[in-house]
Each structure stands twice: as C-alpha cells, then as structure tokens.
Symmetry: C2
Subunit: 421 residues, 2 copies
C-alpha cells in the first residue's frame, strides 16, 4: 500500500471509497462493542471469587473488623499496603473502596486548609494544578470541580516534560501535580529515574506543594518484562522534602472494581494531619473488606501470582489491538501508537484533527471509544489526535473486530481531511 | 432513704462516706467497662454472619455488581431502601459504608454550592446550622468542622423546641437543622406529628434550607411497643417544599458497623443535583456490599425479623440500666433519666453541675462513659447535667456493674456539690 500522503487526489478518492465500503459492511453487522473504559472483563473478576470464602474477620491484634473503630485501617492491612506502596506501616492509611475518592478528599483538604508547611487554604490563593496530558480524565475533573486552574504539561515517554514543570512550579499558586508514574493513562509510559528525582528535588513556590502520585498500575503488568520506577516518598525524603509526596494505590483492578480497598502512603506528619481531618468525615472505613483482601492476597508475592492470572487474559487482547494496528495502519503512514508493558490502556495518535471524526465514525458502526480529547484538561485535545484504547473489557473476538473497525475509521477520517485540504 | 436535698449536713457527710467506701470497693475490682459508644455487641454482629454466604452478585437487571458503574446504587438496593426510607426508588441514592460520610458530603456540597432553589455557596453567607441538643456529637462536629456557626436548640420529648426553631430559621444565614427524629441520640425521644409538620411548613429565610433527617434508628426498637413518626419527605411535599428534606438511613447497626450500606432519599430534583456532584468524587460505591445486604435482608419484613433478634439481646441491657437507676437513684431524688422505646442510648440528667464529676469518678473506677457535654455543640453542656448511656456493647453482667458504679458516682458528685454550697 502507498502511504496516504504520497497518494494523488484520485488515489485518495479511490481508497476512501474502498474504506467507506468496508465501514458499511461493519455497520451491517450491528455490532455493540465498547473499548471506552478501563474495566476488567468478567473472567478477570472471576479470578477473585475465592476471596468470598474469607471468614477471618478478627485481626491478629484482636480487633474485630466487624465493628466501628480504627479509622487508619486494620493493622494487617497497613502492613500489606506498606509493602505495596514501599513505605512503613505507620506511613500508611488504608481507606475505603475508591482511591479516586481518597485523592478527591486530599485535594479538597488542601483546597480548604492547605497542607503542613503551607500558608493555609489553597483556594484562597486562586490555585493551579499541573496536569500532564494526555492523562487521566477523572484526575483532571477533581481539580477542575474543586476550583483549580488546570495547567497542561506535555507528557513525554519519560514522564511529564520536566523543563516545563520546573519552570511552572516556581509559581506559588501551583499547588500540586497529578502523576500516574507507572504505565500512565492513556499512553502506558513510565517515569524515568531522572523525572522522579527532578520532581522530588525541584524548587517549588508553594511551600506545601504536593505530588499526587497515583500508582494505579503498580502491579498491573501486561508483559513479562516489567517497567520499574523509583519510590517517590524515598526520593522526596532523600531530597529533604518528605512531605511533598502523597502516594496512592488501589486493589480495584486486582480484585473487584469499586468493591476493593484503596490506600495511601505519605510522611508520618502528613498521615497524622490527614487522619485528623478524615475524622470528622466518618467513623471508620469498611475494615471487613480490608481483612477479606489481606486474607485472599496475603502479601506482594500473593498479589504477583494473582496478577499473572490477569496478565494471561489481558496480554492477548493488547496483542490483538497492536497486531491489527500494525497490519492495517502502519503501511498508510497515518498514525502512531504506544506499546506499553503494563496498565490498562494504549494511545493511538492520528494525524492532527482526525481523532474526533474517527471516534464518531466508530460510534456510527457500533464501537464506543473513549471520547476524543477526554485525556486532556477540560476534554480538549489541542491537536485532536489522541485516542485512548481500553482493550481489557471486550472479548478477544470483539477486540479484533473493534480494532479492524477502528483502523477503517482512522483511514476514512484521514482521507477526508487530506481531501479537504 | 431520705432525699438528699432534705438531709442535714451531717447526714450528707455520713452518706458521702458510705458512697466513697462503696466506690473504693469498686476500684479494687479493677474493672474495665465501656458504656461510651453506640456499638453493637459481638453477639449482635454474629447475627449477620449468614450474609457472608451471599454469592449472588449479578443484579436482576443483569448488572454485574463486581464491576464499575451505577453510581446511584444497584436497582434492587434502591428498591430496598425506598421501602426503608418511605420514598420512590428514583428518589433514593444508595452509597457506601457510612451515612455520616454521606451527610458530611451533603453539608459540604451545600457549603460549596448551596442547593437547588438557593443563591449558591452557603459558606459565602457566614452560615449557621441548628443543633437540637442534646444530640449526636458527630453531627455537630461535621458542621463545626466545615465552618458553620452552631446554634443550639433545646430538645424536648416531642423533638426540637419548635417555637424557637421557627423564630431562628427566619434568619437567611440559617441553612439547615440536624434531626434524629426517631429515638433521638441520646434521649431516645421521637418527634411528634406536630413537630414534623411544623418543620415541613415553617417559613425559612434561606430558600435552600435543608432538613438533615438522620433516621438512624428507624428499625432499631428496644421495646415491643414502637414509636411511629411521620415521613418528612411526604410532609414537605404536602407543604409545597419537597426539596427541603434530605433523609438518611444506614444498615450499620442492622448488620456490621462500618461495613454496611448507607442510603438517602430526597426529591428527584435533589437526587439529580446530588448525583451530578457525587460524580467527580468517585466511580462507584461498593455495589457488592449492597447486593450482599439485599440478598440477606430481602425487604422490610426481613429487616424487622432480623431486628427482633437484636432486640432480644438489647432489651435486657436497657432494663439492667433502668432497674439499677430506679433502685439506687430514685430514692435520693437527685437525677432523672429517659426510658426510650428504641435507639442506642438513654440520657441520665444529674443535678446541675454534677455530670462531669460523675464521669470522672466512673473513669477512676474503670468505667468509661461518653464525655459529659459531648452531646452538646462544641462539647459544652451549659447545665453540666447530661450523661449519655450506651448499654449495648458490654455484657449484661458488665452493664449491671457499670450501672451500680454510675449510681454511686452520681451520689458522690451530688453530695460533694451540695456540701460545697
């Protein structure tokens, strides 16, 4: 196949006709495919059903997890997440079913009161928040909703563009940054050691600047080869600013989305401050569910063995997408995509101005993709190029069909654009 | 026995010596009793262990509760709580493990944005919140923490003093009122029909005034004879202000405290507004736990049967306290107490200025009571008279000992006070 950009107008029109015919064929199939959200498939959920056999709700220290109390989490859950997060148990707070909710509470806390070392309420300061983009739409929404100005930072294969970050954080109004450091959403990039160290060391205008380190995919490998990143709390401590890091993780994509356990780690000073401010909000989190998870997964060895079972289901789905993109799109020279070692997504980058149209065409043929632009602050991709692909939920056969359809739609959108120029 | 107030000084001194000797006997026993918190006892928790056998996590409509989605709650859970709250399923939002957390979110939402029909952020208005006292300390703390001025309203056996409430709510800065309408904490009073109707009908200065109707003990009867209250949402609707009522309930003291399910009901306009604003905070609540509860309890008939098992455990404990108070305190004429048909508490009212000293003396002998004053805004009882008694957690024998000790301490505190006058 000729690369599209080298085609004559007539060749393009002929090719467009071919692709439109292919699209029509797809439309006739009456497909209903969904590659829009990072949801585990039903067979992945089944992997955790053994957890329901747990009857061991009294902790090793004698605490009955069935009753009120222990806002900070069950002692054994703190030990479990300390290992997962790379911190000491006393630096860990184990919460409820949602790490997003935990992060929301932490941004809200900063908005209302600021953090230790700061000058009080962030909101009083017309605050800004750094959003490496493309990134996780629900992160950006939290800070937008709570009244922060979102500042876009370009995302590189090594993490956020640190030259730009270091410049921006000198502004006292910049209070924090969103990070998904391992297998970023949606690109699947992992932060380089240099990026982590520069984040830990950089001079910030706000004395209570916080890094929201959402290690959402810390055990979610797609490939046998794993990316490895530095520990942000350790690096901040080494740089003399241990209060800077707020690290989060979740078992939602280890066991059951929305019915699992979230936790965070930070300096003891931060954790003390946070627990004091969580206290007015509730009596205690669901400690029975904490116990259930620790009983089932035991420790990081247990988690790793469990995640290998997920990987066996997920890897072929990523492969199906990648094989199709390579076969159908590479020859046309009209797109690039990422090929991550883990996480829940990959990014497809179309030619500028083609992402929205591609997503629209897919939808017309029955395949729902994440809305184009969703991975950017306020839902606007300045290049209209990024499409987030979530291959985990549909079946392998559905993934194959959806990927083929996606390639057809990218081609049509690109040809339409080239012909309109 | 002579009433203390009719005693001569010498008689009082002799009686004080007797009671101090009795206290010393108690101290020798090295007791460790706790009547401070409204916690179910371990045998009450055991009543729900059958719930753990639930394996039915796919809803009647085909929704897999194990995965993300359905922020508003599982359809069957909305039906269940609609019956419990006396509302339509579409007026119900089923949340996570904590009704206190749900109420916190609702106060916070008003603080930030106000409610439909209002002029925006309550916080912009130096807001006040009505606190019928004695009441639930954790309610008062939520509004205190979020920056409201707490306005105390006297609590009567028929509910808050409505003459005072109707006067206060004319102030535009008064944004809401805390209510535990059935078996109030700590008195165990239930709102009269007149109180409910006046709350629904009263003219308020704030056009988005909200009644926080925490029906925490809606199925928690201690006696075979049940108190019955009107439905606040119905009454508000009848009065032409259906948006005024936010009704909450929880299964924490039906199944497992902190590991159960909370829900709320309100007008559809309120629920729509609330869900829109919960959306940025998390992806979904723990729907598996919602399913587990509906599977186990089934409907209100199932709940009633289950609560009868609780009642069989709780009623003798309330009786043990009341019998002891009647036997040891009534003849001295130095205290009064409530005798509720349900809930988790009863109130003991000492002579003015004796509550703190009583609690202190109990503590010295190894019995922890709720801090005197805890049931009042900012933890200050203006009469230093109210002591909240929580008889559910300790064993029957412990309750008997703690009640005896309590009576001795009330006597000593009262005699000390009378002798000092």
């Amino acid at each position: 196949m000729t690369e599209y950009q080298s085609m004559t107008r007539e060749q393009m029109e002929a090719e467009l006709a071919v692709q439109r015919a292919a699209l029509e064929e797809f439309q006739k199939r009456g497909l209903r495919l969904d590659m829009s959200r990072g949801k585990p498939s039903p067979e992945q959920l089944d992997l955790s059903d053994g957890m329901l056999e747990c009857r061991d709700f009294r902790g090793v220290t004698g605490i009955d997890s069935r009753n009120y109390g222990n806002l900070e989490g069950m002692p054994e859950a703190r030990v479990f997440f300390a290992e997962m997060l790379g911190a000491k148990p006393e630096e860990v707070f184990v919460g409820g079913n949602s790490s997003l909710n935990m992060m929301y509470s932490m941004v809200d806390l900063g908005a209302r009161l600021g953090y230790p070392g700061g000058k009080g309420s962030w909101l009083a300061d017309k605050p800004k928040f750094l959003c490496p983009a493309p990134g996780y739409d629900r992160h950006f929404r939290v800070t937008e909703y709570l009244g922060f100005e979102l500042v876009t930072v370009p995302m590189l294969p090594t993490g956020p563009d640190m030259d730009i970050v270091e410049e921006l954080v000198l502004d006292e109004r910049v209070k924090g940054i969103w990070c998904v450091p391992l297998y970023s959403n949606p690109d699947g990039y992992s932060y380089s050691d240099e990026t982590v160290r520069r984040l830990a060391k950089m001079k910030t205008g706000a004395s209570d600047f916080r890094i929201f380190w959402d290690n959402a995919y810390c055990v979610h490998h797609v490939r046998a080869k794993h990316d490895v990143i530095l520990n942000m709390l350790d690096e901040c401590r080494a740089a003399g600013c241990e209060n800077r890091a707020l690290m989060f993780c979740s078992l939602s994509k280890v066991t059951y989305p929305g019915a699992s356990v979230a936790a965070m780690a930070a300096s003891e000073e931060n954790i003390k401050f946070i627990l004091k401010n969580i206290f007015p909000m509730l009596i205690s989190f669901d400690k029975m569910n904490q116990m259930r998870h620790v009983w089932f997964l035991k420790d990081m060895k247990g988690v790793e063995a469990h995640m290998e079972k997920h990987r066996a289901i997920i890897e072929p789905k990523f492969d199906a997408v990648l094989t199709t993109l390579e076969r159908d799109l590479a020859p046309a020279g009209i797109a690039r995509w990422t090929n991550p070692n883990g996480g829940y997504f990959l990014s497809l980058y179309t030619m500028e101005g083609c992402a929205k149209r591609t997503v629209e065409l897919c939808k017309q043929a029955g395949a729902v993709l994440t809305g184009a632009g969703a991975s950017y602050p306020h839902g606007v991709d300045p290049h209209d190029s990024n499409i987030r692909i979530a291959p985990t939920y549909p079946s392998l056969d559905e993934i194959r069909q959806a990927s083929e359809l996606l390639c057809i739609c990218v081609k049509i959108a690109t040809l339409e654009k080239l012909l309109a120029e």
